[in-house]
Structures are given as C-alpha cells and as structure tokens.
C-alpha cells in the first residue's frame, strides 16, 4: 500500500470508527469503548507503518495525494505530511488510545462520547495532514465541534461555560484566519487555488503580508494559546473530561504552533520576520506569566492547564527565534508537551476518578496511599519541568540554546521559566502527595490498576526514549524545520523551495 493511501486511511479510520460506534446497539455499555479502543489502536498501528515508511532527511511533503474536489473554487483534497506534521500525526494517534482508556469510566451516554472522540481524531489528523488550505481550515474548525460537546456534555461543574468559551474564543481567531486564507488565495496569480504549495511564495506587499499574517496569527495565537489570549484554556482544560483535556493539551494546542510553523511563517516570511520581537515577547510573557499564575492555583487540573500556557510559550519562542535548534526544539517540544502534559492530565483524571475532587487542598499524603501513581506523577512532573535525561529537557534546551544563539538577553527570562516550572509543580506535588494524610477518604484510595498502567506505561517509555535518544525524532524533524527557519531568516528573498542549507 502506498504511503499516500495509507495516510488517508489513517485520517479516516477514526471517522469510520465513529460511525460504527454510532450504530452500535444501545444496551451494550462496554461495546462503544471497546470499539473505540480497537479503532484507535488500529489507527495508531497504521500510523506506525507510516512512520516506518517516512523518509528521513527529506524536507518536503511525503505521502502526497491529490484529488480534485471543488475545481470550480480551486479546492482540492490534498494531503501529505512532512517532518513537522509526521510527529503531530504520531502524537495524535498515540494519545488517542490513551484517551479512550482514560474514558473507561464513562458509561452513561457512552456512544455519543466515543463518536465525538473518534471524530475529533479524524479532525486533528486532518489538520496535520492537509496541504490544501481550504481542507486545512475545514478540519481546523471541525475539530472544535466534537471538543465542544466533549467538554459540554461530559465535563465538570462549569463545563458549559468552558465549552462555550472554548468554542467562541477559537472561532473568532479561526474566522479571521479564514478571511486571511481567502485574501491570500485571491491575491495569488493565476487561477484560484488553495494548494499550500502553490500559494507559497505568492508575492505580497509587506503591508498585505502583515495583515494576512495577523489574520493567521489570530487563529493560531488563540489556539496555542499566547498570553493574553489564553483564558479559554484553563477553563476548557479544567472542565473537560480527562480524555478531552488530554486531547486539548496534547494535540489541539499543537495545532496552533503547527499552524505558525506551517503557514504563518512560510507564507508571510517578511511579515513574520518583522513580528519576531513581538512574537518572542508574547512567548516569553507566556512562559513567565503562565508559570506565575500556575503557582497559586488551587485546582490541580487548572494548575496543569496553566503549565501548558508556559510550555507553549517555550514552543512559540523556539519557532520564532530563527535558528534550527530553536525550531527543532520547538517541534520536539510540541511532541514532548503532548506526552508529559497529556500524562499529567491522565494522572489528574485518575486521581479524580478516585476522589471526585481536584482541589489541591483536598489531598495530602497521597504518596502513602497510592505510591505508584504518586511515583508516576512525579516522574511525569520531572519530565514536564525539564529534568535532563527526560524528554522535556531536550526540547527546552534546544529552544533555549537556539534562542541564545541569536538573542542573548531574551533567554534569561525564558530560562527562568524553568525555575518557575519547578516551583509550581513541586509545590503542587508536595501538597498533594507529601505530608500526612489529612482526610480519611484519602487513606483508602486504590492504587493504579492494569488499565491505567496500560495507559501510562507507553507515555513513560516515550518520555525516557526521547530524553535519552532523541536522534530519530530530531533527524526527521530537522530538514523540514530547517526550511522554515531559512524562510524566517531570509524572508521572501529566498524561495522556500530552494535547497536546504545548514542554519546554525
């Protein structure tokens, strides 16, 4: 089977699965989740095949398939992945089975739940594999709907508020991007097309570039999210069901960063260059601000959510510093953040399942009653604060060193974010897991079970693998990253399709 076909299969298997779940008989409670698990695992396995077939050292798109769709409007069904999207696809397919496993406790309305979850996967995969920008936008927005329902129907107390906030926030940004996409397509020479590859290098005046960049940026910045557009995030993450939080943090946020890398920079390189200081300021503001706010959170999940703001700040920083280290680190960090924050949400979810609270004050001394979960939590936490030897460090280090190579002073506040990360996470760990057990109900919690092991073990393994031997990951990222870096550094002078040269 050719990779191109396989890629499309990977994209649509979850959707088919969703339809299948939709027609399952009503009375079998376990059936939807088992089906969903099977579908997501199959998707993952298929994507592994894709990973194996992926050619290292190639900067351009691979597994490209193109079909006319709406020729009257220049819209094609064009998919393909490069080194950036590859890992996002992998991350998505990897996290989805975990998300399904984390949703085991959902027995009421299980059918629609798993339908939405699987539909979400197709949307996310589509976002990462679309080459046609119309298609991209389609998937981009389609993702919102299942997530809206996941938050709104299966979330916690303030779920409706969170769901609406999530959707409206992102929608405003997205729609601005839509206008920008249209403006871009209409300003390109020749016949109307939405093919990303054809639109690359569209000659645009600087002022146009600026406006269009901001249009795209509006969408991506909300999604990432950059301070001060982040306030949807804590609410959405906190109120979403565990799988929803995992997908939100793990994948949805990455869509924003991915968009910056894929579209905002290569399409409008001159404007992007001009905006670098602003972008870096926002990124660093996110790092410091997210961490500061996280420190005093009282809700464990909310704390993790704010940590995402800080982490995504790192990623955006890496994207915009204009060094291959920064960019590669940023992309790797997208993967890392998906793993570690995803795992943190899984863990918080696991604890919530046991105690039905997320308030830090309700815990204390849990390391005694649930030592293994505590240990895993600590482990993941360490990954999240960038302990060397674990995955987070590799990404953060590359980002910071990449930043330092070009912007010496910017690195100081950014690196200070690592200290802050240690503060909020360790303090939270201390309050939740250490000390005496102060509440009786905390004494009798059951420790990790097989399902949770199955859910967490792969993440842990990957955290170590990436931390110790990130080479296979970086090798596949680097060529594609180098191309974007080059565009960012040299503006539209150099055609982004020219050969890749080493950028320090």
């Amino acid at each position: 089977m050719s990779g191109a076909v396989l890629l499309n299969i990977v994209i649509f298997v979850p959707l088919v699965g969703a339809l299948a779940v939709g027609v399952l008989p009503k009375d079998r409670i376990a059936l939807p989740r088992l089906t969903a698990l099977a579908v997501s695992v199959i998707t993952f396995l298929l994507s592994v095949v894709l990973l194996i077939q992926f050619k290292t050292g190639v900067a351009g798109f691979q597994f490209v398939s193109h079909r006319q769709w709406i020729p009257q409007f220049g819209v094609g069904y064009t998919t393909g992945i490069d080194g950036v999207s590859l890992w996002m696809v992998m991350l998505t397919t990897f996290l989805m089975p975990l998300g399904v496993l984390a949703s085991w406790s959902i027995t009421s309305r299980a059918k629609p739940y798993f339908v939405f979850l699987l539909a979400l996967e197709t949307g996310m995969l589509g976002v990462f594999s679309s080459i046609d920008m119309f298609l991209f936008y389609l998937f981009w927005e389609v993702v919102l709907i299942p997530m809206y329902f996941l938050i709104g129907m299966w979330g916690y107390e303030r779920r409706i508020y969170a769901a609406i906030k999530f959707l409206l926030f992102t929608l405003v940004g997205s729609l601005l991007m839509l206008v920008a996409i249209l403006a871009l397509a209409f300003s390109a020479q020749g016949h109307l097309t939405f093919d990303y590859r054809s639109l690359l290098g569209t000659p645009l005046s600087l002022s146009t570039q600026r406006l269009l960049f901001l249009g795209f940026f509006a969408s991506f910045a909300v999604k990432v999210p950059l301070v001060p557009l982040h306030t949807w995030l804590p609410d959405a993450h906190t109120e979403a069901p565990t799988a929803g939080s995992v997908m939100l943090a793990g994948v949805l946020l990455k869509m924003g960063a991915y968009g910056l890398i894929r579209f905002a920079i290569p399409l409008f390189p001159d404007a992007a260059r001009e905006f670098v200081p602003l972008m870096m300021t926002l990124a660093i503001a996110g790092i410091v601000y997210g961490a500061l706010v996280a420190i005093v959170q009282r809700d464990l999940k909310r704390l993790v959510a704010y940590s995402s703001v800080a982490h995504l700040g790192f990623i955006v920083l890496g994207i915009f510093v204009g060094t291959i280290q920064g960019m590669s680190g940023g992309i790797l960090q997208m993967l890392n953040h998906g793993l570690s924050t995803g795992a943190l949400f899984l863990l918080v979810g696991a604890i919530y399942d046991r105690r039905h609270t997320r308030q830090i004050a309700d815990f204390g001394g849990l390391a005694r009653s649930i030592p293994i979960l505590a240990g895993i939590f600590l482990f993941v936490l360490l990954s999240s604060i960038g302990l060397p030897g674990l995955n987070g460090f590799v990404g953060e280090f590359l980002i910071l060193v990449g930043t330092f190579f070009r912007y010496r002073w910017w690195v100081v506040p950014a690196a200070f974010g690592i200290v802050l990360a240690a503060i909020y996470l360790l303090w939270a760990y201390q309050r939740v897991f250490q000390g005496e057990i102060t509440r009786e109900e905390n004494r009798t919690m059951r420790d990790i079970d097989v399902r949770e092991v199955a859910m967490l073990a792969p993440v842990i393994a990957l955290i170590i693998v990436i931390g110790v031997y990130p080479k296979p990951f970086l090798d596949r990222i680097e060529p594609s990253a180098a191309r974007v870096v080059q565009t960012l550094r040299h503006g539209s002078v150099i055609s982004p399709t020219s050969s890749v040269s080493q950028v320090p």
Partner: protein, 493 residues
C-alpha cells in the same frame, strides 16, 4: 392605428402561470370536494404545481431572453432563483401538511397562497421592469401577510400579521417612491433596453454621466429601503422578529428562505447589474446597512428565549452576510450570494421544520427551555437541529460554511476584506446563540419528558432531506457552485 401587441411568450412566465393555475385548482378542488374527507389532495396538488413550475423554470435555462416587451428577464439568474423557490415551496408545503392538520387550519387557501406567493417571488426573480418588480413584491407580500396571520386563533398570529402588514405597506410606499424617482430619471421603468426601441434604465445609465444621476441615486436608496425591508436588513428589520415569532413555523421558514432569496434576487439584479455604474453611490450605504445588520442581528439574538424569535434575529444577521456578497458586486459575489441563499434557505427551512415539529399544538413549546435534554428524547431531531444550527453558524462541512466562504471571499476579492472581518466577527457572536441552543439540547436535562410528537413522517422526511442537503452542499458543493456561477449572467447585462 394598429395595436402593437408584443409577442406573447407565455413560456417566459410559464412557472408563474402554472402556479397560479394550480392555486386556483386547489381552491376549486376544496370547494368541490369539501371537507368531508381528509385534505391530502391539497398538498398533492400543490406539489404537482410546484414541480411543474420548477420544471418549466429549468426549461428556460441557458436561453436568456428579455421577454414580454421587456417586462421579464428569463436569464439563468432568474431560472436559478425560480428553481430554488420551487424547492422552498415544496419543502414548505410538505412541512405544512402535518402542521396544518395539527393546528386544524388545513385549508386550500393556505396552499393557494403559498403557491401564489411563490409565483410572485418567481416573477420578482425575473422582473425586468420596476413596476413588475413592484407588483411581484406586492403579490407575495400580500400572500405572506395573510399566511403569517393564518393561525387565526392565536393572538400572536394576528398581531404579527398586522405588524407585518402595516410596516409592509409602509415600506411599499417607499419602494414605490423609489420607482417613481427612477422613472423620473429615466423616463421608463424598464431595466433593460428592449428590442422595441425603448431604452431601459441600464441603457439610460450607459448614456449619462453618473454625476448627473442624483435622481437615480435617490431612487436607489429607496429601492434599497423597500427591498431591505423584505430581506430584513437593519434598520428595516423591525417586523422580522415579531412576524417570525407569530407566524406558523412552516410559514416562518418559508419567509426566511423564499422571501429572502426573492428580494435578494431583485437586489442583485438591480444593484449588481443594472445600477452597477452607480456603485460608488450605493455601495457605502449598503456597506453600512450590511455592517449594522450583521452586528445588530447577531447581538440581538443572543439573549432571546424564544427559538423562533432567535432564528428571526439570526435571519437578520444572515441578510447582512449575504449583503457582503452584494457589496462585492462581482461575479463571485453574485454567485456566492445565490449559493448562500439557497443553502441558507434549505437549512432554515429544516430548522423551522424541527421547530414546527417540536412546538406542539398552538406552538406552545418554542421556548429555549422547552428544548432541554432534547438530545436524549429525540436524538435524531436534536442532531438535525444541531446540524442546521451549525450550518447557520457557518461551521465547516455544512453548507452554511461554504456560503460564508463564498460571500466573504467575494468581498475580499473586491477589496472589502474589512467588511468580511466585521462579518466573521459578527458571525462568531452569532455562533453564541446557536451554541446556547446546543447547550440546552445536549447539556441540560429535560424537566419533563418531551411530549409525543404530533407531526409525522412527512415533516420528518423534510428534515432529513434538509439535513442531507446541508451536509451535501457542505462537502460536494462544486456543482451547485458551478450552477450559481453560471447564473450570474444577467440578460442584456
């Protein structure tokens, strides 16, 4: 002195004739059969009439003639709108059938009026003379005044009919004044130059410097006002929420879908074709109207508690969105607007079909709170309504998204990207109230189990059809778009 009778090309008004005849047949049929047996034959007759009208309309595709002494333009544009109207009529009739039965007002007059209204709208779509346009407008307006008030037992219905009527008559006067001024300027009300040697307004425009055309600009303003009233553009929209709320739900859907496309057909023809040379005069005004329409419609909707009223405000906002296509005044804009109107019509008809189904006898259950937990009681209905709402909100893979892309794209192409930006911002505000409905349907528990639905499979079928179409035109919208693109060809223009 011989009377120069024009060639009576009845084909040019074939659909209208067919509809009128069918309406009369329906009236006669009821008079003959009486109300002793079930009135199933009425919708059958109506269906037949609408189908025939649609077919006759299609037959004129690609012929593109100005007929009947310059009174009617049988171009692809008109054909497109006529076919859309026929479809809207069909959907309305099918939804209405069970609704009317439930409400106990299944009368031949209802069907006849729907048919006559469609006839009037079709005439409007093809009108190549301002006075024809006016007559067409009055024809369907008068029919709608009555249809809105057809729930005679309901004070709501009566009130909405009266408000609609009074304001409608008021606005007609302005429209008429506009025609008078246009006549004053051009000495004719014909839009196109006809073979008989009469110079139409289009020809008049081409021979005069636009700086001398103050009178025509004035006329344009008044025409905008009159038509803006029909499409529910702010500030001429005030009747809309009340009329939509009080009218029987199928009629509301019909108004939202059909009235809008008919009036927009006139707007598109008048402004984007005939008065195109005057665009620097009317465009700023239309931009202003479009912007406040989009914003006010969206904003006013978000606190509504009555679903019909909310959808009314939403339809106001949608008028604003379509107006961005008008502003663009290019082929993209016209075809986009047409596409938008067709898909919007289908969607909104579906939505009102759901509302009609759920409202219960006398439309007692139309409050947002009545929709609580709908998903758990009627998942398919809730799902369809969700789909329609998403389409109205412009979420991808639904037809509504494509429509928005096309009209906003047209505005962008014409250099009015900023209008599009305002449009998308307004539509995200608008999204809020669609979300509210979804919140109620999915995320809240129903207080009492939903009453059994007194409406049957026909309306259900319409809903399903609309749902499928909403998705279909959201994914495979190429063909419809292509047709809409062809329909931008105006006769003689």
């Amino acid at each position: 002195m011989p009377l120069n009778l024009p060639a009576v090309q009845l084909g040019g008004i074939g659909p209208e004739i067919a509809l009128t005849v069918t309406a009369l047949v329906a009236l006669v049929a009821e008079a003959m059969v009486g109300d002793k047996i079930s009135r199933w034959y009425l919708p059958v007759i109506a269906t037949a009439g609408l189908v025939v009208a649609g077919v006759l309309a299609i037959a004129a595709w690609n012929t593109s003639k100005v007929q009947l002494a310059g009174a009617i333009a049988n171009d692809d544009f008109a054909v497109f709108v006529k076919v859309a109207l026929a479809i809207f009529g069909l959907l309305t009739v099918w939804v209405a059938r069970e609704y009317l039965e439930r409400e106990g007002i299944e009368e031949s007059e209802f069907y006849a009026l729907v048919l006559l209204a469609v006839a009037g709208m079709m005439l409007m779509a093809g009108a190549a003379d301002l006075i024809v346009m006016f007559l067409a407008l009055e024809t369907f307006s008068i029919a709608l005044y009555v249809l809105v008030g057809s729930r005679r037992r309901s004070l709501d219905g009566q009130e909405s009919a009266m408000k609609y009527f009074l304001l409608g008559a008021f606005s007609s006067a302005f429209f008429l004044l506009g025609i008078a001024l246009a006549y004053g300027a051009a000495g004719t009300t014909n839009l196109y130059s006809s073979p008989g040697g009469v110079q139409g307004i289009a020809g008049f425009l081409s021979t005069h410097a636009s700086s001398n055309l103050g009178l025509l600009s004035m006329a344009a303003v008044l025409l905008i006002v009159g038509l803006g009233f029909k499409i529910a553009a702010v500030p001429f929209h005030m009747w809309t929420p009340d009329a939509y709320q009080g009218a029987p739900s199928p009629v509301t859907g019909f108004m939202a879908a059909a009235t809008k496309i008919a009036a927009f057909a006139a707007i598109l023809r008048l402004f984007d074709a005939i008065l195109y040379p005057l665009r620097w005069d009317w465009r700023p005004l239309v931009i202003g109207i479009a912007i406040i329409t989009m914003i006010a419609g969206s904003i006013a909707a978000i606190v509504q508690e009555d679903v019909k009223r909310m959808l009314a405000y939403s339809s106001i906002a949608h008028a604003g969105f379509v107006l961005t296509g008008v502003i663009a005044a290019n082929d993209q804009g016209v075809s986009g607007a047409l596409f938008y109107l067709v898909t919007y019509g289908i969607t909104v008809l579906g939505a009102f079909a759901v509302v009609a189904m759920l409202s219960g006898r006398d439309e007692q259950r139309v409050r947002l709170t009545d929709y609580r937990g709908l998903f758990y009681d009627h998942p398919l209905l809730a799902g369809s309504l969700t789909l329609f709402l998403l389409s109205l909100g412009g979420v991808p893979i639904t037809a509504g998204f494509v429509g928005k892309v096309l009209v906003f794209g047209a505005a962008v192409q014409a250099g009015y990207a900023w209008v599009s930006v305002i449009g998308v911002l307004a539509s995200s505000v608008a999204m809020f109230f669609y979300l509210r409905v979804m919140v109620v349907m999915y995320m809240q528990e129903s207080e009492d189990a939903q009453a059994a639905l007194p409406m049957g499979s026909l309306a259900g079928g319409v809903i399903a059809l609309c749902a499928v179409a909403t998705i279909f035109f959201g994914l495979a919208w190429g063909p419809l778009f292509e047709v809409a693109q062809k329909a931008t060809f105006f006769a003689g223009g």
